[in-house]
Symmetry: C2
Subunit: 615 residues, 2 copies
């Protein structure tokens, strides 16, 4: 195998050969797979050849080193190009390259972190750049590292608003370590992009966001080299709009319509046209050592609340976040411009250097969190639960990335009261349960919330906490242990007729109902199902065995929430114990919390009535 | 009550009085409610006074008239201002104004279409402008109407990428009937916005999107008037960045921090400072008559497919869409730049004037659909099911608007094969079931898909169809009737041991398994649960009564999908028949569809094994 070392003396011809190899390998990989996106890879081959050979600083033998640059393919469908670069860097061999898209191969249709040099899964367009903003923020603001984050973007994905959230945030934060390379190949999946090769509108917008902006011919190797040099030296984030031809190098597909996302019809002829197979190898430059750094760490005592005190769990979340920020310097917090409602501001007050204001841009907030966790930070991002739905695609993709992402959604359910339905999260349990390997927590009191925030810190993966706007009584002792996957049985006796199951605000309605039912001679078991996923199936099955009916109560739609979680447990167990599910089923309006709980049929009075109807 | 008529001769002093009344009423409404956003209303009072008195053309007695202008409060939290305008226009009285946020009042915390003059619910920031793009597109491209769509935006919400999707799409479409008024009051919820009063970055970006851009003092009544005149005359969409002071007019709160989202501390003093209560009434100008228009309507035959033919339901969706476009000229289609995958392109080929390419901007796509349905169009918007998750917040809000929105998500589940998990919708059933009053359909063959697409056309409300990438055999006769809420029992006998329940691609796995089990002497009932919501509970309960176990099989996560839907039915019925739920439970990779179905444990072989284990 020929070896090319990275030095400034690389000739134009040598760089061209590297680019041609990337094109050839893209064609070959897609041909072997029988699917894939070779033409979207070929357009960016020159861009990536110059990057790999002359500008990237990356030690493929230590992908977790904090010194490495990052390379993110925001246009994840150009995976054949990325995998061709790995081959060129000697990280994989040609045999593995040709396993592209095979069952069991780590070289999937779109990149995932199953590959050690991939930070995050991409393939849902518009995500790579905002995630890279998070990587760059961590690198610059927290670690003062000298690395660069290189992001290959498509021109089609610039239609996604999330890309412009990234432009805005990066410009605002002065991320001079972020370099976006836009492969402007003019053709989307079904036809021309909105702007085709006229990059003027995009360039003007990026400049207005305070980026260093260049527009170049993306097949001019010297222009690319010079553009990268300028980008590295820029005192702000840099974007290079590189006009390219999709399928460049092969006449049959070059700049042709209807050539998206499929192998070339005649790959052998294409390889020949490109000058044949090559096995050039680039010795990618190693990065300089990462600097050491320190983060400040204010001392914060573990919050605790007195039994009977009325405290909103959102407040306890904020207190707990400040506390674990003191316990663990890897904890960072991100806010969607509602930190005085979620109480993330309490973290900001104690650990300002680890607090990130992402403004009202929930996609960018979640993306930045995903980016930060690639560098070992433990990000807690919070907004109203309803508005986290804005970032659902990012959360879905974060799970594919196996990201260590912690989210908190406040202001859930009808019990928020007068602000009305636009502000009420009523689908968050359903949405976040349906995320791979997710944890969904819904604390019922402040001390429990504190314990569970710390459990989220210690849990690696995606976890979500749902907090309540209203103040509810403290019912657990400070320091009482609560585990992910557990539950707490608050009332229990041998004569229990019915089991009441609630969490968050409805647990308190269950307790009130239990008292009233007891006064009528009906004893009930009461379960706090604070861990909705994973769920404590054993306790639920025992309750189904030992009582005559189960009643779930939730401030959430009926679908996918606590009721169906319990139903799933019962049905899989073949339990014949009937289940009554009280949940929100009609469009709520504005009003006092208690009026809305009553109107939704999830307050104590409705629980009492449901039990009386059952027994 | 004093009356002000709208003519060009209104003095500056008269306009000031109107604005002061809007401020006073904002203060009073919030004071009466004990909550709300008076300061966010006061900043825009001058802007709205001039609009109502001099530029809006709206007949409040006929809110559904197609001739009316539209007024959308993208900053929905300024609802006291909007309601004050309604009072000033004589649409509501003062008594009703003071019911703001009361339980049962239509004057909710954020506007909803429960109020006849409100097109869509707002309150999740960043949605009003993209929805207005849809209204303007319908008005201009379909109806050639002379109306204007006026949108009051906040400056904070310009951080949402969806706003920039709207700027881009409106500029690209040359929407000269769209006017965005940005109330740049410098202060967000928790502190200053990113750009405060420096509107230069925002203005440059809007100009780059091909908008007519003005930057004015938002408290200068003459400047406002002149800006509106220019905006109305502009040959492109117009935006006015109006620098204002939050809480303007009351020294205690004007341009002060920590005054967001709460009533004034001393409302009486504020009202006095503002010159006291007023009851001025504006006679809002009536619009000219709406022009008549025609849409083209190509003849398209009802698609039908032969039994046994292999057809992807996504293809049938495209064929059916073209057909119903011929049947019903109110049907329009929107694409997220994947029309050659969802097959929405088949509609475009037949009805190009009713086809809207929204590029890769799913939020804008769904928002535009929501906007179009406000004018009586029946929008079908489609993308990969996975990417509809990008628009989840818009769908949530569409349900609050009771919008007539039809979505189709293609490429669902692991069975898409080599493209890998980023492209696989595995949470769409869960997410869309958890939308108020939603319909979730999952056709199992092409003829059924055709029938259900037409059922979606006839259904008013939010409906979602999930289509399959792979070709599956046609099993139903052309023209066979399928209803929303129904199911189809394909195999049934008195000796059935187990019921198999599938939909889409897994129904075919169930049928294969049933054949194999039959050959082993185990007879099974097979149910096609094509309507996942509403679900045919009676058929499921009968199956639970008549067979020994139920097995659900779905190409979706276990949470919130078909399995839990069935579990909910069984548990509520108190059925003790055990349920086995086969669903995707691990992170899939790339590979052939059959390998991925097997790896996920949802193919025929796994169904056979599950049944054998059960009986």
């Amino acid at each position: 195998m020929e070896q090319v070392t990275t030095d400034q003396a690389l000739s134009r011809e040598q760089l061209h050969e590297l680019a041609q190899q990337l094109r050839v390998d893209s064609v070959r990989a897609a041909a072997a797979a029988g699917s894939g996106h070779p033409t979207s890879s070929m357009s960016a081959a020159d861009l990536m050849a110059v990057l790999l050979a002359k500008h990237l600083r990356y030690d493929f033998s230590t992908p977790d080193s904090p010194a490495n640059d990052h390379l993110v393919f925001s246009k994840g469908h150009a995976s054949p190009l990325l995998y061709g670069m790995y081959k060129m860097a000697g990280a994989i061999d040609d045999e593995e390259l040709l396993t592209f898209r095979e069952f069991g191969s780590r070289l999937q249709g779109h990149p995932t972190p199953e590959i050690p040099w991939v930070d995050v899964a991409t393939g849902s367009l518009g995500q790579g750049l905002p995630i890279s903003v998070g990587i760059a923020l961590a690198g610059k603001r927290l670690e003062h590292a000298g690395l660069h984050v290189w992001v290959l973007c498509g021109d089609s994905e610039l239609a996604e608003g999330s890309m412009w959230e990234a432009f805005e945030q990066a410009g605002h934060s002065g991320l001079d370590n972020l370099i976006a390379i836009v492969d402007v190949n003019r053709l989307g999946q079904r036809g021309p992009t909105m702007h085709e090769w006229d990059t003027s509108s995009l360039a003007a917008r990026a400049a207005a966001c305070d980026w260093d902006v260049q527009e170049i011919d993306g097949h001019d190797l010297e222009a690319i080299d010079a553009a990268y040099a300028q980008a590295v030296d820029a005192d702000r984030p840099a974007v290079i709009f590189a006009r390219t031809k999709k399928g460049s190098g092969v006449a049959a597909v070059e700049d042709q319509p209807d050539q998206h996302g499929k192998p070339l019809e005649d790959p052998e002829a294409a390889v020949e046209e490109l000058g044949g197979e090559r096995s050039l190898r680039v010795e990618v430059a190693k990065p300089p050592e990462a600097p050491s750094y320190e983060v400040s760490r204010a001392e914060v005592e573990r919050p605790s609340y007195e039994l009977g005190e009325k405290v909103a769990t959102r407040g306890a979340y904020g207190d707990a976040l400040a506390w674990i920020g003191s316990l663990d310097e890897r904890v960072v917090a991100l806010d969607g411009e509602v930190g005085n409602s979620t109480y993330a501001e309490r973290f900001a007050a104690k650990h300002p250097d680890r607090f990130f204001e992402m403004y009202i841009a929930e996609q960018q907030m979640v993306a930045a969190a995903v980016g930060m966790q690639t560098r070992g930070w433990k990000p807690f991002a919070s907004s109203f639960g309803a508005f986290l739905s804005r970032a659902y695609d990012f959360i879905r993709m974060a799970a594919i990335s196996d990201a260590d992402l912690k989210l908190c959604g406040s202001h859930v359910g009808v019990s928020i009261g007068p602000d009305g339905p636009s502000q009420m999260a009523l689908e968050d349990i359903a949405a976040f349960r349906a995320v791979l390997d997710s944890v969904v927590l819904y604390p019922s009191d402040a001390n429990q919330a504190v314990e569970l925030v710390d459990a989220m810190r210690l849990h690696r993966g995606f976890s979500y906490m749902r907090t309540t706007r209203e103040k509810t009584p403290v019912i657990y002792e400070p320091g009482e242990a609560f585990e992910i996957g557990g539950s707490r049985t608050l009332r229990s006796g041998e004569e229990d007729a019915v089991t009441l199951i609630g969490a968050g605000i409805t647990l308190h309605e269950c307790l009130t109902a239990a008292d009233e039912l007891a006064s009528k001679g009906i004893t009930t078991r009461v379960i706090d199902l604070y861990s909705v996923k994973p769920v404590d199936a054993a306790t639920l099955i025992a309750a189904a065995d030992e009582t005559d009916a189960l009643v779930t109560v939730e401030d959430h739609w009926a679908e996918g929430g606590i009721g169906e979680t319990v139903a799933g447990v019962l049905a899989r167990a073949g339990s014949g114990t009937p289940l009554v599910s009280l949940a929100v089923s009609e469009r709520p309006g504005s009003g006092p919390p208690e009026a809305l709980l009553a109107a939704a049929g999830i307050d104590a009075a409705h629980i009492v009535a449901a039990v009386e109807e059952t027994v």
